[in-house]
């Protein structure tokens, strides 16, 4: 119920009321004396009169209230099915009014496409580290999308927890895979005492990893085996279908 609206009409209603009075006055053959002449009015077109009827309904529906809050008038809604109760339709069609509206907005896809893990059984693997020397010989550890901490602790995203105490407990290095440029980077953590080597170099900054590169941490030697890269990325899975 809208008791307040009835007892204390909102400005819109007053405006509509005076508009109606004005229309009525304009329709009258002779003006009552003393009344100021109403301003010249356009003929009441179907659209404005529909708007008057609509605003007379005391309560907005949820969709109407949302449209108003979004700053969309009814006139903007021509191509949208007003009766669809779920706004998925409304909302998809009523994007933030750029000039590109109505076209597939591919340019919006350029940015970082963060993979949410909803569709995966587990974090999707993008590569592996295989132990080829030292404690854990023959074992492997998966590398995941994004940033991977490498250290001895089990809490690391890539735990090298085979008993080599000369590896830093946490974050001796980071291995990053970025699905946009599809490259692997090894980033040494210079705050740690223990040094990481890639092949025969001891990098002080990020280095790109290539297939079969040898990483030495402490007394452990690891070979890098990529799964994702220029040939494949998880993002491609459904692109082939469409």
């Amino acid at each position: 119920m809208s008791n307040d609206q009835r007892n204390d009409p909102a400005p819109e209603r007053r405006m509509i009321g005076s508009l109606r009075d004005a229309l009525a006055a304009a329709a009258m053959p002779s003006k009552p004396p003393g009344n100021p002449a109403p301003p010249p009015l356009p003929l009441p077109a179907p659209a404005p009169s529909a708007a008057v009827v609509a605003t007379e309904q005391p309560v907005q529906t949820a969709a109407e209230a949302v449209r108003e809050a979004r700053g969309q008038s009814r006139a903007d809604q021509g191509h949208i099915e007003l009766d669809v109760p779920q706004s998925r339709v409304v909302q998809a069609a009523a994007g933030r009014g750029g000039p590109d509206d109505g076209r597939p907005r591919t340019q919006l896809l350029r940015g970082r496409q963060s993979i949410k893990s909803a569709d995966f059984f587990q974090d999707p693997v993008v590569g592996w580290l295989v132990v080829v020397g030292g404690a854990g010989l023959g074992a492997f550890r998966p590398i995941f999308e994004g940033n991977n901490t490498v250290g001895r602790a089990k809490t690391q995203r890539i735990p090298i927890d085979f008993g080599d105490e000369t590896i830093s407990n946490e974050e001796q290095a980071y291995i990053r895979y970025d699905s946009v440029d599809r490259k692997f980077l090894l980033v040494p953590n210079l705050a740690k005492t223990n040094i990481v080597a890639v092949n025969d170099r001891k990098p002080t900054g990020a280095v790109e990893l290539g297939a079969m590169d040898l990483i030495t941490m402490g007394r452990t030697q690891l070979v890098f085996v990529p799964f994702c890269g220029s040939e494949f990325d998880w993002g491609e899975l459904s692109e082939g279908k469409s």
Partner: protein
Amino acid sequence: MLTYDHANRASQGARPYQEDSAAIWPSDDPLTAKLPAALPPDTALLAVLADGMGGHVGGAMASNLVCTTLLETFAKGKETVSRRLAMSLDAANQAIRRKGTANPQLMGMGATAIGVAFSPEGAHWISVGDSPLYLYRKGELTRVNEDHSLAPLLDKLAADGKMDPEEAKNDHRRHYLRSAVTGEEIELIDASEKPLALEAGDIVVLASDGILTLEDEHIRKLLEASAGEPAAKIADALLGDVEKANEPHQDNTTVVVVKVLPAGLTGPMT
């Protein structure tokens, strides 16, 4: 002056970690501990929700940081409600950037964000990402904010006949985000142009995308059936139905339910 009944509930689903955060101010929620007890006169209630991403540690930290920064920045500001929401989002984004810069292992963390400020004029919102904000009114459910995942674009392709509808529905890219709070420039921000006028009986729901396990019609029916219940019961019922769906990979689900109550001595709604 409208009054509100509110509740905030979370479920971890099938995940080993909880990456969602949400809070209502004022409340006894730990996230609001540092905030002043008294609200600014232009706001009756502030509800925030964030769904984190970026691995086990980063995701939880990002959503927590986004929520606390939204709350604290909003509480301190003196500007208009809408302006304060925008400033709070900007502050949250900067907080994520600072955290990532200081801790390289947290780089790439981020979160969705919804902030809803309930003022005497209605609800003002700001939103980034795919966490839905719903308005339920008299049997009708409407999604209020934009969905910044790929889902609307895939649905549009299907609607235009450029993609098989079934394929669009099952495309795993539906969950990709086109915009999130990551510390970089936020690509898409959705905000109210005007306050959303609320009425007694309205139910506003903020949720993380785990709720999408339930079809919109399911949510609508649930709200219709439980509209007379306290907000806490409604929130429990929503999470209960998500859990009942028993999805093997059920994502974290968090809901904030805000019910608009009839003012003071006004009789029951008809």
